[in-house]
Amino acid sequence: MSLYTPSHRIAVSYIDKSRELYLHRGFGNPYRWASHANAPFAKLNKPLSECTVAVVTTAVPDEDAGSKRKLWSAPCNAIPENLFTQHLSWHKTETHMDDLGSFLPLAHLKDAAEQGRIGSLGSRFYGIRTTFSQRQTVQEDGPAVLEMVRQDQVDAVVLIPI
């Protein structure tokens, strides 16, 4: 059997799983995931083949950065061999993070730019913090990423949470 399937339509509820785990551990007031009735929508205002595309990750450069949880960025012209993700909640008994392309496809984006599918890859990629504080994400990380996006003249952004 190939891995291709056109008809899979179920998904794990991580909201339920995290709530159950918190309650099991004795936290009486489980984390409330962000919830919105509406969502904003910005249209692409030129062909993708003319757009500069940037990418955002939750991975960090190394273990030290994992404990500090700071906003960061790095140039795309030197693609890192790998990034540190051990502090994040990926499925550690089922998979591994040894292939950057599986969670931060800088090389594939570069190929897409060379092939003309996108205009170019942004000069930097951005790393944001995973934090319980939604206020921090909205009031600090959002504006900081927007500022870098504008500095780098980025037209569209691919965000890849791990």
Binding site: T5, A11, V12, W33, A39, S89, W90, T95, V145, L159
Partner: protein, 96 residues
């Protein structure tokens, strides 16, 4: 991450999220979402499977071009393993 996507969209920057936690992203509410039904960690495709990674990234490009309104989700047409063993769904955050 979904909150940052919303912030960018509110300020006129088109975005697409590629992720594996469907409920978290959809409850937050983003403009465009490529859902990959895999264990958390590799939303762009299986480690080592470059063709799959390119196909999923291409779905993101396609969504940037074609989505007509907010909260558009598409699902990547891949399963985690050829035997369709879904024990990974249960074994994450498992206790007792």
């Amino acid at each position: 991450m979904s909150l940052v996507s919303r912030y960018l969209e509110e300020n006129g920057v088109p975005t697409v999220v590629i992720g594996s936690a469907r409920d978290i992203v959809e409850q937050c509410g983003v403009s465009r979402f490529v859902f990959t039904d895999f264990p958390l960690g590799n939303p762009v495709g299986k480690p080592g499977d470059s063709d799959m990674q390119k196909a999923i990234l291409e779905m993101g490009f396609n969504l940037l071009e074609s989505a007509a309104f907010a909260r558009t989700t598409v699902q990547a047409p891949f399963v985690w393993n050829a035997e369709d063993d879904v024990s990974w769904r249960k074994s994450f955050m498992e206790f007792e």
